[in-house]
Amino acid sequence: MNTNGQPVLEAHDLTKTFHTRKEKIEAVRGIDMEIWPGEIFGFLGPNGAGKTTTLRMLSTLLPIESGRAMVSGFDVYKSPHQVRQRIGYVSQLGGSDRLATGREDLLLQGELYGMGRREAEQRADELIEVLDLAEFASRRVQSYSGGQRRRLDIALGIMHRPDVLFLDEPTTGLDPQNRANLWVQISKLREAGTTIFLTTHYLEEADALSNRLAIMDHGQLVAEGTSRQLKQQIAADSVVVSLQEDGAGSEGAMRLLQEQDFVREVSAEPDHLRLYVDDGVTALPRILRLLDRNGMAIKTVTLSEPTLDDVFLRYTGRSLRDAGHPLD
């Protein structure tokens, strides 16, 4: 990851407390993070964890109560105007204008960011192409399907080429096909170098799209790192090897593998060996080479990693899949 120069976004000890008549709700309790240019930062957590509140503070929508946040060197609290010029924000609701056509809406967005008419037209056409909006861009937004509207929302968010794009639960409510389509679009943005701050409560989404992610629970970050790093903290990868010849070959292989220092544990199961290793990806070629060199032919080999769900379970004490229903 690019760690030269300035982070695009940094937060230090960010907190937010909501006061109701009866109680005090600490929605965000001291968050620290840095996001670097070109990253897709996945912000993962169950509904109600404080993700959206954090996002709204970072995007100038909610006043920062204590702590500090900087976007491209501008203080979010002190210079909201400069920050707004440099961020894109796509809320869960989207925000496209129902009575406008997609293209009109893009033009308005560009012009509100200070573009001239011609510049806005060029950029709109570019985004219509990139996000595949051509088919419906001249129709009114109220006639769009959920997936089409989501693509327009994202185009609106990047119309002014922001330094960082905030995407709040971009695929919530989409069917699997539209979700997959949107993932492709978001990956394209990543390839084009867009820095994205993505909140989601879908593990697959965080895993598929983000370079680095953080898990938030009860207003705090409970874990942060790349998906791989997080998984490695959890448990070892497992490699399952079955050999061509049974019996004797298997035992020899087991002894051989047990001697390797990158192998934590080997267990023999009826027709295969199960190895626990720290890092399956580097261990696998070594295992293959070792066995090959010793004349042991491999029938099948599978590598399985711990999933993000395991990570989530470990840090929050519950599985994300049943971590509750939307609160808002």
Partner: protein
């Protein structure tokens, strides 16, 4: 100048979109027509008190009230769009842009105002053949006063919408305030027809001053204390409402 440009952009958006809701256009025009067609005949058969001298057409009393009612209703209902825009996420999206907060408020209001002026003019033109005398200068000044009225209540309505965030509370607050204001302004019939206590309470109602001034202006009077009072009440109140609503746009947690 960024503010002016933003106002123009958001004005254009609202103005163009009005054409896309033809039902709204039809209702906005037919409501005042219905008042004229179905309410004026009732007035004619009222026992002619001192307020209706024999030579005066009832339209001269009644039509300025209708114009004030149009400006007032157009303002008071402005928050309905705001509620829908909040729920569609549009408000939030637009608040994340660097667009001027004043422009977010005033662009759409000025668009509605344009439409209101258009309908008011149509009503005046329709009423003329039925005996409503048109005093151009007076009407123009009345339009300025009614514009202040419209902007005042539109700002108020939009701020209430941003604060209540959902249609039920919003409608309750706005309707709860509208009705007493309307009844105590003499908007359909002059308060002079009522007992003294009504006139006393009326003096605490900003709308009352507008309606009084508006009637005189429409009748061709251009300068007297009632008209000055109308402006003295409306200018500061409207300014206050605009400042307040802009602040709400700046801070609203939607």
């Amino acid at each position: 100048m960024k503010t002016l440009r933003d106002i123009a952009l958001l004005y254009r958006r609202s103005f163009v979109q009005t054409f896309r809701v033809p039902v709204w256009l039809a209702i906005s025009f037919s409501t005042p027509l219905l008042y004229l067609a179905l309410f004026t005949p009732l007035l004619k058969s009222l026992p002619g008190g001192s307020e209706f001298p024999p030579g005066v057409n009832v339209l001269e009393i009644f039509l300025p009230g209708i114009l004030a009612l149009m400006a007032f209703m157009s303002g008071a209902s402005a928050g309905f769009s705001t509620i829908f825009e909040l729920q569609a996420g549009y408000t939030e999206r637009i608040r994340v842009t660097p667009a001027s907060r004043l422009a977010l408020l005033i662009g759409p209001i000025l668009s509605s105002l344009t439409w209101t002026f258009f309908f008011m003019t149509m009503i005046v033109v329709v009423a003329e053949p039925f005996g409503f005398p048109i005093h151009i200068a007076g009407l123009l000044i009345a339009y300025v006063l009614l514009a202040l009225l419209m902007v005042l209540f539109a700002s108020f309505s939009i701020a209430v919408a941003l604060l209540t965030k959902e249609i039920n509370s919003f409608a309750a607050v706005v309707n709860g305030i509208n009705l007493p204001l309307l009844l105590l302004a003499g908007i359909l019939l002059p308060l002079e027809l009522g007992p003294a206590w009504m006139r006393v309470i009326g003096h605490f109602n900003p709308l009352y001053y507008v309606v009084e001034a508006d009637r005189l202006l429409a009748a061709g009077h251009l300068w007297n204390t009632t008209i000055v009072e109308g402006f003295l009440v409306m200018v500061p109140l409207t300014a206050l409402a605009v400042v307040w609503a802009t602040r709400v746009y700046r801070r609203a947690v939607s």
